[in-house]
Each structure stands twice: as structure tokens, then as C-alpha cells.
């Protein structure tokens, strides 16, 4: 049911060495005393039509990357190449006017449906806002488009004149989806779109997103902290830690064969039912360090159970595995480690059987 993403399909987004530092100001003169290195040298590409899951703990910089892509932030450094009709355009440093045509192609879906809809606006006006901003269509045409969108996201046309508080959480998130899709973007950055929703409603929205992707050929960057949601929706997963990319691999491989110790730790942390008592697992100790002063070398070495001396001094580069070019990992010790997957040995055997 996931859209097939054949290798070598068009690249829609290519990010190179992206950095986003936020200054910390102090004192009477508001002098910059330090920087929060929210995103610190991240590179990746996204193929057209795929869903990339971006996971990591809070403070890992995943939301910041999303906001850089929709250009809510102006990145400190690095490039964000987006595919337009006339080739790839670097949107990282464009100004407001230059961005205007690109904004039609990149939209964002927000986490909290309570704060993402203006309580004083009617649903119809909320959905039509992007159309209005870009001056698309006449009033009547916009209205017709909004009604079509309402239908597409599973809401009735009678929602048009309602206010957000008159809707349930799930309905509000559907309105958010309709707004994001109103100007027919090609890339949608979904920032934790289901984490504020109840389980049953969460599944409705996930299915809606998957259906719309099929229908409209959308590309998603799906930011989430819930790995099971990411596993469900994504073709590929990128694991972030402290502003850096730790590992990126096709979804199934991440769960069956993690190659970075942090990925292993994340997988081990997922609550899971194991028949007949509680499972043995190793748990990451301590907290994520401060992004103001990240550890030297590999940023994960302070919590890594396998860390060696080299990890403390040298920053590992993100490189493709020789055995599997689709998997990229930033770890000095890839070759020596054999990491524990999410699945137990039995489950793995069953999965293998299924795949064959």
C-alpha cells in the first residue's frame, strides 16, 4: 500500500550541510553569548513520492529541519535544493519575494490542531487562506475548491461556516490537512501531525495522509517521536540526535537491522509486549546533552555503551554501508558492532518467512 519508490526516481529535495544556530542573548546590550546548535550539518535527499520519517528525541533538531525546509527559519548555513520546473533551486537564502512561488510547492502540517487553527476564523476561510495569499481563483472558485478539499479530507461542505472550537480534535487536524493541500503542494512537511490525537483518530488521520499521497503523488517528510507511527507511514527513516543525522535506512531495515547504537537504543526503548513476562532490554542512561555545548567527536558518545577513544575525538561522517548503499550511518564502529534489532529472534524468523 505504500507508494513504490523505485531507486533513481526524481530527487525533489536535496539538503547539504544544513546548519541552524539560534543565538542566546544576554545582558543589557543583548550580546550573543552562545548558540543553540539545533541543526548542525545535516545532509540528505528526498525522492519524489516517498515518505521520509524523521525521528529522534526532543531536542534532536527534527522540527527545526522541518521549519527550515518550509523556510519559517532562514538557515545559518548550508543549502536546501528544491526541484522546480527549471531545475533545482537553492531556497536556503532566498528572500520573501523570491520564495513566494516555491511556497506553493512546500506546505507544512502542524502538531497541535488546537493551536494551528485561528479560533476567530471560519473553517472555509482557514482552508482558503493559502489560495488567497497566492491570489488563486475568484471568490467562487476558491469556495468550490474548499468544498472539494473538505470532501477529500472526509469532512462535509457544511463545515464551511463553522469555527474551530465547534470541531473535534480529529476534524481539526483534517482541516489542517485541507489547508496544507489547498494550493496543491508537492512536498508536505508533517510535524508530529498525529501525536496530539487519540489512538482511534490518529489511525484515521494516518490513513487519510496515506490515501492522499497515493491520490495526489505527494512527498512527505514525516516528523514524529513515535516510532510505531513512523514505521507505519514511512518508506525510509532518518534518525537524528543532537542536531545530527545518525542513521538513515529503508524502514524495514531500521527495525530489522539497526546499524547505529543510538538507533538500537531507540528501538530497545519502545514499549512492547512480550508474552510470558517482561523482556530483557538495555536502556539508555541519562538525558540528551545540551545543544549549546554538544559533546566533542561523536555527539552520542556520552551515552553510547560501545564508545571507544576515537569516538570522543573524531566526528564520524555519514557514509553508506559498502554492503548496502541504501543505508547510511555515522558511526566509527559500524563494522565491528552487531546490534540488537527491535524484533526478537523468533519474530525475525517469522518476518523472514513472510518476506519470502
Amino acid at each position: 500500500m505504500r507508494p513504490v519508490n523505485p531507486n533513481g526516481s526524481d530527487t525533489i529535495l536535496a539538503i547539504e550541510d544544513l546548519r541552524q544556530y539560534f543565538p542566546i542573548k544576554a545582558g543589557l546590550l543583548q550580546k550573543t553569548v552562545a548558540h543553540v546548535k539545533a541543526v548542525d550539518g545535516v545532509s540528505f535527499t528526498v525522492a519524489s513520492g516517498e515518505t521520509v520519517g524523521l525521528v529522534g528525541e526532543s531536542g534532536s533538531g527534527k522540527t527545526t529541519i522541518g521549519r527550515c525546509i518550509v523556510r519559517l527559519y532562514k538557515p545559518t548555513d548550508g543549502s536546501i535544493h528544491f526541484s522546480m520546473t527549471d531545475g533545482m533551486v537553492d531556497i536556503a537564502q532566498l528572500n520573501r519575494n523570491e520564495l513566494q512561488p516555491i511556497r506553493r510547492d512546500i506546505q507544512m502540517l502542524f502538531q497541535d490542531p488546537n493551536s494551528s487553527l485561528n479560533a476567530r476564523m471560519r473553517i472555509g476561510d482557514i482552508i482558503a487562506e493559502p489560495l488567497e495569499i497566492h491570489g488563486i481563483g475568484t471568490r467562487e472558485e476558491r469556495r468550490a475548491r474548499v468544498n472539494k478539499l473538505l470532501d477529500q479530507v472526509g469532512l462535509g461542505a457544511d463545515m464551511h461556516n463553522r469555527f474551530p472550537h465547534q470541531l473535534s480534535g480529529g476534524q481539526r487536524q483534517r482541516v489542517g490537512v485541507a489547508r496544507a493541500l489547498s494550493i496543491e503542494p508537492r512536498l508536505v512537511v508533517c510535524d508530529e501531525p498525529v501525536s496530539a490525537l487519540d489512538v482511534s483518530v490518529q489511525a484515521q488521520v494516518l490513513n487519510l495522509l496515506a490515501d492522499l499521497q497515493q491520490e495526489l503523488g505527494l512527498t512527505y517528510i514525516f516528523i514524529a517521536h513515535d516510532l510505531s507511527v513512523v514505521e507505519y507511514i514511512s518508506d525510509r527513516v532518518m534518525v537524528m540526535y543532537l542536531g545530527k543525522l545518525m542513521e538513515t535506512a529503508p524502514t524495514r531495515k531500521i527495525f530489522e537491522r539497526p546499524t547505529h547504537p543510538y538507533t538500537e537504543a531507540l528501538l530497545n526503548s519502545i514499549p512492547k509486549r512480550v508474552r510470558g513476562g517482561h523482556r530483557k532490554r538495555f536502556v539508555l542512561t541519562g538525558d540528551i546533552p545540551s545543544p549549546v555545548n554538544p559533546p566533542s567527536g561523536c555527539v552520542f558518545h556520552t551515552r553510547c555503551q560501545y564508545a571507544k577513544d576515537i569516538c570522543k575525538t573524531e566526528t564520524p561522517a555519514l557514509r553508506a554501508l559498502p554492503t548496502d548503499p541504501q543505508t547510511q550511518v555515522a558511526c566509527h564502529l559500524v563494522e565491528e558492532l552487531s546490534l540488537q534489532p527491535y524484533y526478537t529472534a523468533d519474530e525475525l524468523r517469522n518476518l523472514e518467512a513472510d518476506h519470502v
Binding site: 513566494q100 506553493r104 507544512m108 493551536s115 476567530r120 472550537h165 489542517g176
Partner: protein, 391 residues
């Protein structure tokens, strides 16, 4: 389980007194979900009875000052040397001697000097019953400043016998009429002062909240400096700087500006805080990500969400301004005669012996009190209304 009912959501009642009827239908559908934002806000406001009463009281006071010439039986300046410092006259409907009932009337007062204290003492002249008439012809005036008219809401039917329902002052001018005319100044100072406050406070607050940086820094330090002075002395200093040779209208404008000078700082801070929080809302991000201009974000997203807060703050700033004007005028550095204002009228009661001998000179204070309290209750009710979603 029969008495477990609760009020299912109000409906269309406006009940000022008495308990609300409980609706005993627990399965009643939640009306909240069905109402628009405006309906919710109206409902909230109507539920606050003190605010509603205050609102009605303020409407009455404002209407009477707007149509002061009609409401007041005399002009602010017409005097009667025979009735200086006359006490409030009693309005009667019953003849105290015969016990018979009549339409409202009063007995005129006759002054008589007490030869021991040399005070002028007034006694009712019981021989003459002067009826009180509604829509009586009297002194000509210009309604709303344009229409010439001479009909007053009420007054003495005999032009020779003046009616002072709240007494008169040192020159025999009717205090009630002067209070009504004084309200024009006192209450309008509140409104105009707050208008300036809203414009200056919102614009500066929005700019410093939205853009931040150096501008914000400078403005915040300026506000802190202004606010670090005690309010009244600062007002007095600024008011004293108004040139004495200015005509009264200019002085009035000057006082309005002086009063707004401190008030805008509070509003500007409030607006700045609101902008800081609102601009981080996801709907603002969504608009930005769609390429909305700053003007559009301010117009569509910030102002509608701030308007109600600003109105509340402004409502609560009106009584402060009214008190400020009264204080300045009372101290003799506010508006100057021939203008009248409540503070200026209260100036008659500045000496303790005047309060003892002519306690009715305190009536202007009562009006200040009512207006200020009403504004505070109104502001309270509006504050409830601002957040219609909090139930």
C-alpha cells in the same frame, strides 16, 4: 436521581436577579459546540450581571452628558444670587400639611440670615407649591452643539423659582446641571485619553513584539523609565507644564495627552506580550509558510485575536484616566473655568468647613465613584468575554 439536573447551557435568557432555573436534562446536547465565537462571547457577557448593570448605568450617564442641555434644567453658568449654596430641594408628591397627593412639586427656598452665626439659612416657603414639569421650556441651548432648542427634560414650572435638586454653589448655579455638563469633560477625557492610549500602545506594542531587536529594547527601557515615576506627581508635573495662557479647549487637549502619556505604556506591554505569544502559534506559522505578508498576518491573525484583550485593557484604563483628570482638576492644574469637570466641581469641597456646611458639594464625587466602579465591573465582564472558550 430526579434533581440531578444542571443548566443545559443558558439559552436566550437575560435575567438580572434571582437564581437561574436548572434544566433537568443531563443528556442535553452541548450548545457550546453549536455556537459561533460571537454568540459565545455575548452569552458570557450576559451571564455577568454586575457587568451588564454597569453597562446600562454607563449608557445612561453617557447619554445624559451627550444631551446635557436637555437633561440639565439650567446651563452650567446661569446663576441666581438669591440662592447661593442652597441645599438640595426636596421633591414632594404629598402635601405635608394637608396630606393630599399632587403631581411632583417643590417648595421654593427663602434665605434668611441667622443673626447669631451670620449664615444664610434656607427655609421652605410653604405657601407656594411649585409643580415640577417634564419637557418644560426653559433656557435656550444647542442640542449636540447644533440644534437650537429650549425644552428641558424636567424643571420648575415657574421661571422665577429655581429648582436645585442637588443644591447650588457659591454663585447659586445649579449643581446638578453643572455635574451633567462637567460629565462631558470628565467622561470624554476618559474616552479620548484611552483612544490615544489604544492607538499608541497597540502600534508600539505590536512593532516591538513582532520585530523585537533594538527597537523593542529601546521602547522597553523607555516604558520602564516612565513607569518608574510615581503616577500622580508625574501627571502633575506634566500638567503644570501646560502654558497658562492657552485657551481652555487647548488645555483640555493637553490634559488628555498628559493622561495618555502614562497609560499607553501598560497597554503597549500587554500587546507586546500578546504578540510574542501569538506569533509563535502554529496558525501564524502556517500563514508564514504559505507566504503571507507581515501586514496580512497582523491584520488576519494578530489583531482579531488581540482586539478583545485590548478592549478590556482599554476599558479598565478609562476609570484611571477619569480619576486622573479629576485629581488634576481638583488640585487646580487640570481643566480651567469656564470649563467644568467633576474634579473641578469637587474643588468646591476642598475646604473642610465647606463639607460641613454644604455637604452637597460632594455630589460630583458620587458621580466619579459610580462611573469608576461601573467601568471596573464592565472591564471585568469583558475580561470574561475575551476568552469565550474557557467555561
Amino acid at each position: 436521581m430526579t434533581n440531578l439536573g444542571g443548566d443545559a447551557g443558558g439559552g436566550r435568557w437575560i435575567r438580572l436577579f434571582g437564581r437561574r432555573k436548572k434544566n433537568a436534562d443531563p443528556a442535553a446536547r452541548d450548545e457550546y459546540q453549536l455556537m459561533t465565537v460571537r454568540q459565545l462571547m455575548t452569552r458570557k457577557f450576559l451571564r455577568n450581571r454586575m457587568a451588564l448593570l454597569s453597562f446600562i448605568a454607563l449608557v445612561i450617564i453617557y447619554l445624559s452628558t451627550i444631551f446635557a442641555g436637555f437633561v440639565a434644567p439650567y446651563s452650567a453658568r446661569s446663576s441666581d444670587s438669591k440662592l447661593t449654596y442652597s441645599p438640595p430641594m426636596t421633591i414632594r408628591i404629598r402635601d405635608p400639611e394637608t396630606g393630599s397627593f399632587h403631581l411632583p412639586f417643590f417648595y421654593p427656598l427663602r434665605g434668611k440670615r441667622n443673626m447669631e452665626t451670620f449664615q444664610l439659612e434656607y427655609v421652605e416657603h410653604r405657601e407656594k407649591r411649585v409643580p415640577i414639569q417634564f419637557f418644560v421650556k426653559g433656557e435656550p441651548y444647542k442640542a449636540l452643539g447644533i440644534i437650537e432648542w429650549d425644552v428641558h427634560l424636567f424643571g420648575s414650572s415657574d421661571p422665577e423659582e429655581r429648582l436645585h435638586i442637588m443644591g447650588s454653589d457659591v454663585r447659586g448655579r445649579d449643581l446638578f446641571s453643572r455635574i451633567i455638563f462637567g460629565g462631558q469633560v470628565s467622561l470624554s477625557v476618559g474616552i479620548f485619553g484611552v483612544m490615544i492610549t489604544i492607538v499608541v500602545g497597540s502600534v508600539i506594542g505590536t512593532l516591538s513584539g513582532y520585530y523585537g531587536g533594538v527597537f523593542d529594547n529601546v521602547v522597553q527601557r523607555l516604558i520602564e523609565t516612565i513607569r518608574s515615576f510615581p503616577q500622580l506627581p508625574l501627571w502633575m508635573a506634566l500638567a503644570a507644564a501646560i502654558p497658562p495662557q492657552w485657551p481652555p479647549e487647548w488645555v483640555y487637549a493637553g490634559i488628555v495627552v498628559v493622561l495618555a502619556f502614562i497609560n499607553w505604556t501598560g497597554l503597549s506591554r500587554e500587546v507586546r506580550g500578546l504578540v510574542l505569544s501569538l506569533k509563535e502559534r502554529d496558525y501564524v506559522h502556517a500563514a508564514e509558510a504559505s507566504g503571507a505578508s507581515t501586514a496580512r498576518i497582523v491584520r488576519k491573525h494578530l489583531i482579531p485575536n488581540m482586539a478583545s484583550h485590548i478592549i478590556v485593557t482599554a476599558t479598565l484604563a478609562v476609570p484611571v484616566t477619569i480619576l486622573g483628570e479629576s485629581a488634576l482638576s481638583f488640585l487646580g492644574i487640570g481643566v480651567r473655568p469656564p470649563m467644568v469637570s467633576w474634579g473641578l466641581l469637587l474643588n468646591d469641597a476642598i475646604k473642610i468647613q465647606n463639607i460641613v456646611l454644604y455637604p452637597w458639594t460632594l455630589f460630583p464625587g458620587l458621580f466619579i465613584l459610580v462611573a469608576v466602579i461601573a467601568y471596573n465591573f464592565l472591564g471585568d465582564g469583558l475580561r470574561d468575554m475575551v476568552d469565550p472558550f474557557a467555561r
